[in-house]
Amino acid sequence: MMNLSDIELFAVAAVVAAVWMCGVTTITRLLWGLAMQTTMIAVIAALHGIEIQSFKYLIFAGVLLIIKAVATPVFLAWIANKIEVKRDKGTGLNPALTLFAGCGALALGYFIAPKIVQSQSGTAGGAGMAIALILIGMIFMLTKKLAISQVIGFLVLENGITLYALTQTHGMPLMVEMGIIFDVLVGVMLAGLVMFRLNRSFEHIDVTKFRRLRY
């Protein structure tokens, strides 16, 4: 009988939010899901900081919360509003099947995690959830149609990596974590600018149609 620790419970909540995101098509709901999920990861960072009594994790949690859970979704929502996209129906897999694929990713993560995680370092449950998040981010980037939801998929994937680092390596330097967060911020900003330009020159941001050149 395995007992879920607090950290694992929040990791599961983050993955449940990600699975929920697989099934919805509205950009606004996708962004809500992203914000919820990132908040969960910030809570995990804070709990971890309290557990090992280290102040830097609390700072990290605060920065994570402000930049990735609030600023990024708000920025993306602003862009979506500006270029008038509301819905992403997806390509290849329909939302119901994407949900099941997300569920499969969760199962896969859960069952392969104990095999690749060393038993003494960290919790296998957290690692499984992190792998599930990475896989779900990849599913997003493969099956979504609009450039903006691919950015969201990338952020989910990045959340997965953060979660893996948090639950497995108990001593990533604060500078490295901050650097990653600001890199992601800059990346999202650039992606937003690119989306603006794309929308201006193609009048859509549907990646499945980008094979055809505009003349």
């Binding site: 009988m1 929920w20 099934g23 949900l99 199962a107 859960y110």
Partner: protein
Amino acid sequence: MKLIILPLYIINLMIIPFLFMGIIRKAKALMQNRLGASVFQPFYDFAKLLKKGETVSETASCIFLLAPKIVLSAALIAGILIPWSGIPAPQFLQSAANFILIIYMLGVGKFFSMLAAMDAGSSFGGLGASREAYISILIEPILLIGISALALSSGSMNMSEIFAKGFSPFVGVLCGAAFLIAALAELSRLPVDDPTTHLELTMIHEAMILENSGRNLALMEYASAIRACIFLGLSAQTFLRVSPLYKNLPVLAEFIIGIAALFIIGIFVAVVEGFIVRLNWRRVPNFIAFAAVLSILAALVAVAKG
């Protein structure tokens, strides 16, 4: 013990379903700023319908006349076997309280209500029956997987024992949410079907009972009220049993808390129905997929922990 429990069964199956429907309608009316009928209106409707004469379509065979009785019997048996209000199945029926039997007992009732709808020969009946069949194909695996997860977590296939022994909280929460969504689809309530529309091509349950009248209709309405109690009560019980406080209480206390939880869920459903609109029919499978994923997650957790 037995003397207390017998009246409870009677209250459970003869009073609560009508009261439950009345409360849902009243709450919905209040949400829409209407005064609404009294909560006892379903009793009066039932009594009035019993007194009225029947009109039977010329093309209908004996199945149409027989179906309401079969549907009601199936609903009553399932209502006794499932502990939806907190009281377990009676001692002499314990061996029949296997969850697979119960799920397919509900299926028998649904099968006959679909047959009756098609038997009357109206096009509405066939349309409603085909949609009902479609929804039940989507719902059945959810119930089966969800209750299997509960059974795996508690280590018993007997419905009363599953709820008496308790299960892991995580499985309980996931299954409760899955059952709630499944119940909304199964009972043709709002995101899937609007129970108040009449004579529209989108309705499911109302289209099926369009040809029934008089006593026939009374029995069908009674059976559907019991089904509503069973499905929402199952969800309420699954949520309640997550809490360790709701365990090993006296039967009467469990019954009262269970009924209160059932009514709260009913009011919750009515309030939610005030805010949302009916889904496009083609989007219904997507909505039900959420319930399916919840029950599959519950099964995964149950397997991983077992």
